[in-house]
Amino acid sequence: MAMKSALKSIRERGLGSFLRELKEEGFLRALLDGNLMQTKLHNRGATLVGVDKFGNKYYQKLDEQFGRHRWVEYAEKSRYNASQVPPEWHGWLHCMTDHTGDELLMLKPKRYGLEHRENLSGEGEEFIYHSKGHFLNPEQRDWSRYQPWEPSKKE
């Protein structure tokens, strides 16, 4: 079945684009990454519920065992983690609500708040938080609490 559809798409779009798609969709990487492979296998026959603004795909298959019936395939194929799920999809993914992220975005008045960012700690020096005054924090170096009079200023 899968074979057939693969052959069909090769026939329709040519081998090059088929391979490129394989690569972009992470099928090549899935050969090495068991997690991704399992997700890919899981995806067969599931419904694609939505895609968020980062390109993460949310699937649902109600025939599955409860608790495994909703999942996400991350857009980032090599370096994925749970903090890449934006807040609006979090609830759906964790079965807190049946509203999908797209619906929640429609419902929620967007007035202030920051864009969702994934948690980058552990991804390099620049993402590590150093408290104020730590010598790796370049921001505030002068801790004197008063401002001295400077003789050159007035003359």
Binding site: R145, Y146, P151, K154
Partner: protein, 746 residues
Amino acid sequence: MGLGLLASRAMRPLKYSNSRVFIRSIVSKPELQSPEASSAAAATALEPDLPPRSPVGGARVHFPNPEDAIEVFVDGYPLKIPKGFTVLQACEVAGVDIPRFCYHSRLSIAGNCRMCLVEVEKSPKPVASCAMPALPGMKIKTDTPLAKKAREGVMEFLLMNHPLDCPICDQGGECDLQDQSMAFGSDRGRFTEMKRSVVDKNLGPLVKTVMTRSSVPHNFWLNRCVRFATEVAGVQDLGMLGRGSGEEIGTYVEKLMTSELSGNVIDICPVGALTSKPFAFKARNWELKGTETIDVTDAVGSNIRIDSRGPEVMRILPRLNEDINEEWISDKTRFCYDGLKRQRLNDPMIRGVDGRFKAVNWRDALAVVAEVMLQAKPEEIVGIAGRLSDAESMMALKDFLNRMGSNNVWCEGTGAQPNADLRSGYIMNTSISGLEKADCFLLVGTQPRVEAAMVNARIRKTVRANNAKVGYIGPATDLNYDHQHLGTGPKTLLEIAEGRHPFFSAISNAKNPVIIVGAGLFERKDKDAIFSTVEAIAKKGNVIRPDWNGLNVLLLNAAQAAALDLGLVPESSNSIESAKFVYLMGADDVDLEKLPNDAFVVYQGHHGDHGVYRANVILPASAFSEKEGTYENTEGCTQQTLPAVPTVGDARDDWKIIRALSEVAGMRLPYDTIGGIRSRIRTVAPNLLHVDEREPATLGPSLKPEIKSEMDLTPFGSAVENFYMTDSITRASKTMAQCSAMLLKK
């Protein structure tokens, strides 16, 4: 046995364990549902062994008339109180702290927050204790289920529209609403509608408003700020606008709060609706260390608490002193503290040949000063103490210069030939709290509103309470109470002295007349003539009697009274013109125009202000928040400051610098500690050691020799041009600069 029971056993004093059963469990008892039954039960239960209680906050009972005492019962205690006490005051005397929001002992009673509800026997409803006079035999119950339920209900209403702001609110941690909702409130509210929000008002650079926090109930229930502004500060700008859920506090037309006492509404607001703008989001109150000290920005010597965090002064709050500032302080006192962090002198500096200052160490700086000083002739040495100097350093300065052979030491602002001999001639003889007994004021050349805001508040209080008459001689000004502007200069004074002026009859008919002369007149050439004219008025108007001394001088600076007590008087009035060596101890406002160009000027002080521009050597000293020093206020009350924060940079205490310099110059002063200086002061002015006591002048002005000189008829000037900027600290303050830019512009 549950954990709670264990804990309660462990915490309970043993002596109760046999008499009553203390097991507490969460059950609904019948008495909780019906208040009447429980109050009856409580009444019987409360009879036996009551532990003694002490009055709240040291509340004292003063019986003006012993027959007027009535007996009431608070929670079963019999209690004698004077007639006219409210139920709330009676409870305070009995040691029960009644929760309250709108009630403030210094403001009129509003009786509208209903937080102080208590149960009174035979009264069908709970009683608002702040507005209810206590009646003989009243049985007041403060901790019955009815009272508790009433408070809980009130609390719920109060919190109805209050935002859940505590984490971002500056009042958090010192908020009456927070505390009382912890103590008396319910753990949840039933208000499910929307909370309202209100647009914040701009009241100027000092007071920040978060109107949402003063939401509906607070507005019309607490209006403490409106009452304060109207009654104490005397600016009728704030009001309650609108009604119902639309009610809010505001000024209606766009207006800044132009009062010199506006900062007090911050203290007075029991919620976080009015907070300090300069302090906003700077610190939490539990991080702060409080130091109880004295304010030096004017001659009143308001009692303050400096709240500091580490080396930084974070804010200044008033401290209760009934005799001086009650519980208010002026805006200058409260908000000048950011001046303590700017423009500070932190290293000794010497001006080089190129006219630029160079930082040096103390050893070199003192050596240079001593060398120049030893070369100058004794009569060419001049020392001037600044307006913020403490008594110890002035004593050291005078001793040191006297040892050098010079007697030209004085304190700025006391004029060329100050009268330091008769103490009654330069202090406020009536005392600040004594002003409340007066019924007629004559202000001569003084504008207390800008010179001493706290004294002005006292006068205003008297005017409101006794309908006292106020006559004012001086340039036209806005005193915030009813007054007659009699004239602008000595001419009017002369008319009164000769009895030609109608105000003279007001003085002579008054029971307790008060004459206040401004210290700005000290600078005038004809000051002796003016003073003798004033004394003539006092004599004719019966202002000085054995039981009443109504002749006062209102000083301008914190150092003046102590300087005159210590005898800091120049030998000759034109010593500046011939000086070769000038020692400025924080003196910034001395006119150095006439100083010869080759004179050597040493400036010892804490701020790079006017004084340093002429200086040859700068010696950094500590500010009032950083040293221990004695100050005498305008009414002759001696008080001491305490160090709240460390000195900045390489600065030293004033007296230590002079002591060190004396040793380098080879004229070593005989004291090494502050105690040593104080015992030296004891020989000169022993009253400066009686801390927190007001020492009245013993001799009246009658001993003064007659002075035959003519008054100059030029009108009086105003002594303080800009209320917000009078000394080096306030001139360095950004907040004060903002204030004078925004509030004083006409």
